[in-house]
Amino acid sequence: MISLIHRYARAAVAACVLLAGAASANPVESTLANGLRVIVREDHRAPTVVAMVWYRAGSIDEVNGTTGVAHVLEHMMFKGTKTVPPGEYSRIIAAAGGRDNAMTSRDFTAYHAQLHKSQLELALRLEADRMANLQLTDEEFTKEIKVVMEERRLRTDDRANALLFEQLMSAALTANPYRTPVIGWMDDLVNMKPQDARDWYNTWYAPNNAVLVVVGDVVPKEVFALAQKYFGPVAMKTLPVRKPQLEPVQTAQRRVIVKAPAELPSVLMVWPVPVIRDPATDREPYALEVLGGILDGNGAARLPSKLVREDKIATSVGASYDSTVRGPGLFYLSGTPVAGRSASDIELALKRELQRVAEEGVSEEELKRVKAQVMAAQVFQRDSMFFQGMQIGTLEMAGISHKTVDLQLERLRSVTAPEVQAVARKYFNDDRLTVATLDPQPLSAVKPAAPSAGVRHAQ
């Protein structure tokens, strides 16, 4: 399960990610009077259900000085309501045979429980309760903020590649909040106050800023009735106006270097590109998805095939692009050289592969292969209720209706080789590029190692 969804970290199966699971017109939707949208997808293959509440409140909605508050609130949502004591939510779900978790991304915060279908009502009752009645005490906050700081240490501060990504984003973007890490800057976490979390909750946790997604062995009208029963009484709120916060045009290449303990260097590159705003009329985002697939979407894709297997200069390479996001569109390339090769060798090789698409285009065979992946992944995804729910939720959070999934699939299949070549030509010039390079530091050079005299040996 993904906690902080760092989009870059997702394998760049671009096209597949977008489309997997489309298929039927089965999801049905209803909206409560308080603005809560309820989307139900029937899947009767097993007697289970996943219930997810998605809030359109992610790190993109944060302001400076309180970065990370969306994620901190996610943690606090398990710390009790007027009627459920701290920690009890998870105990109740566990005792019902369920599994629960939550995730925060740039675009959203989502809570989910997977259970036997007979326990759906319990899950919805508890979710509705914490949508309206969270008790955010100073005592619980003081303990939990420490947990979040440990999470940041574990997942970012002590991980060279996470630091690299964090620095890349803050160099590539200047105005848009996508530039700050989802988990927040450590200093903002250190200085965060319980009231910051309360303000966040009071501002964004409202039925009219949420989508309830239920996938499983259920009857939609029964789910709608349960949703009405438990979420219906929750009052709607007036939401703040969301500003576009568009990036100023980048005029020259940007570079950043990170020094951290590691053995091998690595390089991360990003260019601004468009994303889907109108699924029916946009063309370029679909071409970019296919480009991502041709570069790194399958075992035969160009980057691993050429740089890892044929030229033997990289231990790993990647391409990543997500066309359905709230913020700016970003197309990433990444690579780690084999010992004896440098980050700049990989940087040049990655750019050369883009150049090759721009100059020579792509083959019909490659295009067909990417589309075959998409079509198969669409079937495979239906094996998992959870991922079906994820697809609906992430699209809705990006402001794109889940009802356009089939349309998007059709558009993707209509992408032509010249369209792929055209986006490769148009968007990947050096003046729009930001590069982050990891300069690996030997462990001993980072800090003097503790002397072995201090080590206690048993036996």
């Binding site: 007697p47 920690g87 036997h116 002590d158 035969a300 084999v338 010992a339 198969a376």
Partner: protein, 445 residues
């Protein structure tokens, strides 16, 4: 996210197979191929797809210390060329039909997995490539050399990470010279020394049909499944194959190691060899561990370390049952100056649990989760395939899932206390702290 560590997730996947209420029996079919491979199959008509795995008793435990990494390399190189297919041919042909082709290597097992559409020509093309790779691996020398370089780089990279240093210190201390203590990816030196002949010999010895388990779930009739099982195992090396995993001799005393590291957190791990797949104490230990440290936020370790004190994002315990005694592990990561405190909390929690066992109420909640959560363990083809592969490989009864529920349900607090007292002696745990509390270490000096 506020979740369990990957290790915990892995432990759950491998450690429990869960229980079957009467309303949810899984119709598992099993038979043997003419070549001697065991087959476990579930017919699932819901989606036009097939999940298939073929595993061999060829995991990292079949390595020798001077060739650590050989099992992993053999498995990894299967897809590097086979029959007349080059590495790129294999990738392309699978990708052309949208198939997902993967490998599996763990301590006991090694094998290949395939997910494909069951429509034609997709199924036929995917199976043709799968079968060729399984039965005619070429182990081309140039690809071997390339991947040795890559792997050595990856190992050196991993050796800078506290979690890798932790496991590569802890496992040899727990297992001594037993292969469960070897690093499965090998050392730079042992990987550098591997030759093509080593891989060929390992494959011939261990990838025989009689050491194979075929697991399948998907949109197939029994007759189709039988034909596929025959096909993917027919050309495997003949004979019984050789190699078995020796009995584990657990260490007589505990030990503690602290290793300096510049990371901001200490990584703390404790462990000892305990549990075999067919161990008579399996259920008391498994159910008891849910209460101790396996039940996520509902567990005592998480409650003491995380919820009450905010000391760590993840704190857990698990049993990883293997063919021979697999490890009982506890772990957490915390800011360096808190490492001693967190370790003391984990130790005290464990000691209290071993001494007194769970309360009746805790046991009820554990059973509610394990039994009530059973449907979630078999609600997708992917999950069922993983269960089938384990049932087949470890020769568990086909009623294992049903038996599991009954066994969990019958477990008592007295049995748990008794099993933990006999099997988990906290004084014999191996403790490793990577990136210890430097102030404390300096003071001790």
């Amino acid at each position: 996210m506020r979740s369990k560590s990957l290790m915990t997730v892995f432990a759950c996947v491998s450690a429990l197979l869960a229980a079957v209420p009467a309303w949810a029996q899984l119709p598992i079919q099993s038979w043997q191929t003419k070549s001697g491979a065991k087959v476990v199959f579930v017919e699932a008509r819901g989606l036009p797809m097939l999940d298939l795995s073929v595993d061999f008793a060829a995991g990292a435990a079949y390595d020798t210390r001077d060739k650590a990494g050989l099992a992993a390399f053999t498995q990894g190189m299967l897809r590097a060329g086979a029959g007349k297919l080059s590495e790129d041919d294999i990738s392309r042909r699978m990708a052309d039909v949208g198939a997902q082709f993967g490998g599996r290597l763990d301590t006991d097992r090694a094998g290949l997995t395939l997910r494909t559409l069951t429509s034609q020509p997709e199924l036929e093309q995917a199976l043709t490539v799968f079968t060729t790779v399984l039965q005619q691996p070429a182990f081309p020398a140039d690809v071997l050399a390339r991947d040795q370089t890559r792997t050595i780089g990856a190992i050196r990279e991993a050796l800078t990470k506290p979690e890798t240093i932790l496991s590569r210190t802890l496992y040899p201390l727990m297992y001594g010279t037993h292969p469960y203590g070897f690093p499965s990816s090998g050392d730079p030196e042992t990987v550098a020394a591997l030759t093509r002949n080593d891989l060929v010999a390992f494959y011939q010895r261990h990838y025989t049909a009689r050491r194979a388990t075929v697991a399948m779930i998907g949109d197939l009739t029994r007759a189709q499944a039988e034909a596929i099982a025959e096909r993917v195992t027919a050309g495997l090396p003949a004979g019984a194959g050789t190699g078995s995993i020796p009995v584990v001799t657990p260490p007589l005393t505990g030990a503690t190691r602290e290793i300096a590291h510049p990371a901001s957190q200490s990584h703390v791990g404790l462990g000892m060899p305990v549990l075999k797949r067919d161990d008579p104490d399996y259920f008391p230990l498994f159910v008891g561990n849910y209460v101790l440290g396996g039940g996520g936020f509902a567990s005592r370790i998480s409650d003491e370390v995380r919820q009450k004190r905010g000391l760590a994002y993840s704190a857990f315990s698990y049993f990883a049952p293997l063919q021979q005694a697999g490890p009982f592990m506890l772990g957490l990561q915390t800011r360096k100056d808190q490492a001693a405190e967190a370790l003391a909390v984990v130790r005290a929690t464990l000691e209290g649990f071993v001494k007194s066992g769970p309360t009746e109420d805790e046991l009820v909640r554990a059973k509610q989760n394990i039994i009530g959560g059973f449907p979630l363990r078999i609600d997708s083809n992917r999950k069922i395939l993983d269960n089938l592969a384990v049932i087949g490989f470890y020769n568990l009864p086909l009623t294992y899932l049903e038996d599991f529920v009954a066994a969990v349900d019958k477990t008592t607090t007295a049995q748990i206390r008794d099993a933990f007292t006999r099997r988990v002696d906290p004084a014999r745990l191996i403790t490793v702290v990577v990136g210890g509390d430097e102030a404390r270490t300096a003071a001790a000096r």
